[in-house]
């Protein structure tokens, strides 16, 4: 796989500062009846959008936005990778939220979507700036862990392992795991339930 280093993401933003947004809401289960991830983008937040015409994902001025500002415990619930896949295919390239559910965070990492944490106060400032100017260009810099836009600047956080993988382009975890095949085979011999409980 080609190395794809992700050091910064620059794009306009879209804000959805609700807490406990679960992955059923991001992509309802009926859209998981598929054998590829193609076509999931148009169904991101489908049911929320149907029930709320003013939902940010419905609004013309936010189409094309690549940076999503979210609330606390973003992506909780189901492990479905279809959720970040649908956001990515809608156009999201980075997510800034108060916190993330763990499986969702891991899935974002697998897809090369930076998911960084910020304080609620900073997210509210960013959301206000996006609301005021939907064309505002926002920069998420992973090396400095800073988010900047005209008049807004704040620090974000992310575990070193996830940050380093994105910056160095090593977020193709499969390739790295495969390179340790010999170690894995040797390790299996130390596992009691693989050796008749004699290990």
């Amino acid at each position: 796989m080609a190395i794809n280093e992700i050091k910064t993401v620059k794009s306009t933003g879209i804000a959805l500062l609700l807490d406990d947004i679960d992955t059923d809401r991001i992509i309802p289960a009926r859209f998981l009846r598929c054998v590829t991830f193609d076509g999931l983008g148009e169904h991101a937040f489908e049911d929320d959008r149907q029930q709320d015409p003013s939902h940010p994902f419905n609004q013309a001025q936010f189409q094309g936005a690549g940076i999503l500002a979210g609330g606390r415990n973003f992506g909780c619930g189901s492990s479905r990778e279809h959720a970040p896949q649908s956001l990515m295919r809608w156009g999201i390239k980075a997510i800034i939220a108060e916190s993330f559910a763990e499986i969702f965070f891991g899935n974002c990492g697998s897809l090369g979507i930076p998911a960084v944490k910020a304080t609620r106060a900073d997210l509210e400032k960013l959301a206000a700036a996006i609301e005021k100017n939907p064309k505002l260009e926002i920069t998420v810099d992973l090396q400095t862990l800073k988010v900047t836009a005209d008049g807004v600047s704040f620090s974000v956080s992310m575990p070193d392992s996830a940050k380093d993988a994105l910056i160095t382009g090593q977020w193709d975890y499969l390739g790295r795991l495969l390179s340790a095949a010999d170690k894995v085979a040797a390790h299996a011999n130390k596992i009691p339930y693989l050796t008749g409980f004699r290990a």
Binding site: D20, R25, R30, D48, S78, S99, Y173
Partner: protein
């Protein structure tokens, strides 16, 4: 020298192939369970990269999410479901993976099949592309839900990268009052610690309340760890764990079983084991619990009123208001008496034989309220057969419940079993998220299967302790 490591750290260390800079571990996975929804794209990755399944003997597939529970004749009426079924059949055949399909009498919800076949054992690392993989922690394993990219990684290498979580011991001591079940215990814990309280932690459930639970009750508790934000929850293995596993098809046999049992029991956290955090609850404080909102933490004891917006923390108020509006409920109102339209008994949380026995015991001699549609979906074909041998299906049918085939069904409504419009469902499942049960505006009230049975009969949320005719 005593080993102060808790079970989680003992099992983690055993499976650590290597530690990487940045804090990650490459972890060997002892059992990989797969199903039809989160695996097709993973197998495609293997095809694109010309890879094999590294340890096919450590990989077992079944079908559950999209399976119809009324008629299972092939091809399915739903062409997309049929396509997914064909895909897992082809993938398992091409890659040499055992598939427990509809024609196999071991088929069922993946988290029910693993334990009942003896695939799930103490001391294992277990993953599945499904968040409720935490269920398997009931045996003292590290069991975590993963995404589809991870499924591909584990298929191809039998390993994945993980950051070691901290371990929080969640202690509950004391006897549960009549009418209070394992489901109420975990709903209570989530209510107290919050839906994100467990992020970054594995939960060890300990204390006399869990000691007294059956293996099936322990599975109910661990199943919903993820609803509290903990990707993994576990209970230390004890003699009940050993007894449960004896004689199961995939359990060790003969002398192997004796060696296995000794090892399993040795893994349990000792009295002086260390934890990153400990919280303690009293079983006497737990009453039959019902969710009223759109997250599993938004619950109350059945005798209690809903919270008032002004009484919750400022940063919680927006979410509470959103939940009240979606549910069509008023702050401060009682939950008891809430009219229901549908009753669902089943799911990986509460679709086991003990759940069906208890629901049948309550339903016996009663009738489902005329305005309620009630369905019972056994968690596996094994559970279904056992229930029918005991005549439970006759009790349910006489009471007006529909008796279905095994699958996930209305827990997430990927099959034809769905709520319609704004229907309210009393459900023994695990998630009350907006739209979770198949209608974008459908509403879910989570509770124990016994409480679902009572609600079905009374037509509204009812305190099981006040239900005439039930000896709780």
């Amino acid at each position: 020298m005593s080993d102060k490591r808790n079970l989680f750290n003992k099992v983690w260390n055993l499976h650590s192939v290597q530690d990487l800079s940045g804090g990650q571990t490459q972890l060997f996975i002892g059992l990989h369970l797969i199903h039809e929804v989160t695996s097709p794209q993973a197998f495609e990755i293997l095809r694109e990269r010309k890879l094999k399944v590294a340890f096919p003997d450590r990989t077992v597939a079944t079908v559950d999410h999209i399976v119809p529970t009324a008629s299972q004749a092939r091809p399915f009426l739903d062409g997309l479901a049929e396509q997914m079924m064909s895909a897992i059949e082809k993938n398992c055949k091409d890659f040499g993976v055992t598939l427990l399909d509809l024609k196999d009498n071991r088929q069922g919800i993946v988290h029910i099949v693993g334990p009942e076949q003896g695939l799930t054992q103490p001391g294992m690392t277990i993953v599945c592309g499904d968040s409720h993989t935490s269920t398997h922690g009931a045996f003292g394993s590290i069991a975590i839900g993963i995404g589809t990219s991870n499924v591909a990684e584990v298929l191809a290498t039998q390993t994945m990268f993980l950051n070691r979580p901290k371990v929080r011991q969640v202690v509950v001591n004391g006897e549960l009052a009549p009418g209070v079940y394992a489901k109420d215990v975990i709903l209570y814990i989530i209510q107290k610690l919050g839906v994100q309280g467990g992020v970054g932690y594995a939960y060890e459930f300990a204390g006399t309340t869990f000691d007294a639970m059956s293996m099936e009750e322990r599975m109910t508790v661990c199943n919903m760890s993820i609803e509290g934000g903990a990707r993994c929850g576990y209970i230390n293995p004890d003699q009940k764990t050993v007894d449960y596993l004896k004689g199961r098809p995939f359990s060790p046999q003969g002398a192997d079983f004796d060696r296995a049992s000794a090892w399993w029991l040795s893994l349990a956290s000792g009295d002086d084991a260390q934890f990153d955090d400990v919280v303690t609850f009293d079983a006497a404080d737990i009453e039959p619990t019902v969710t009223w909102g759109i997250t599993p933490a938004q619950s109350v004891g059945v005798s209690q009123p809903l919270p008032k917006v002004s009484e919750v923390a400022a940063d919680e108020q927006k979410l509470i208001k959103e939940a009240l509006e979606f549910m069509g409920m008023m702050e401060g109102q009682p939950i008891k008496g809430t009219k229901i339209d549908v009753a669902f008994i089943g799911s990986c949380t509460n679709g086991r034989i003990s759940d069906l026995r208890e629901a049948a015991r309550i339903a016996e001699g009663h009738r489902v309220s005329p305005h309620v549609k009630a369905i019972v979906v056994p968690g596996s074909q094994v559970v279904r057969k056992q229930a029918m041998e005991e005549g439970l299906h006759l009790i349910f049918e006489a009471a007006g419940f529909e008796w279905r085939e095994a699958g996930c069904s209305m827990c997430l409504a990927m099959n034809p079993d769905k709520l319609k419009g704004r229907e309210v469902c009393a459900s023994s499942s695990n998630r009350n998220f907006k739209g979770r049960q198949g209608s974008p505006t459908g509403r879910t009230l989570l509770m124990s299967p016994a409480m679902v049975a009572v609600a079905a009969i009374e037509g509204c949320v009812t305190d099981i302790r006040e239900f005439v005719g039930a000896t709780v």
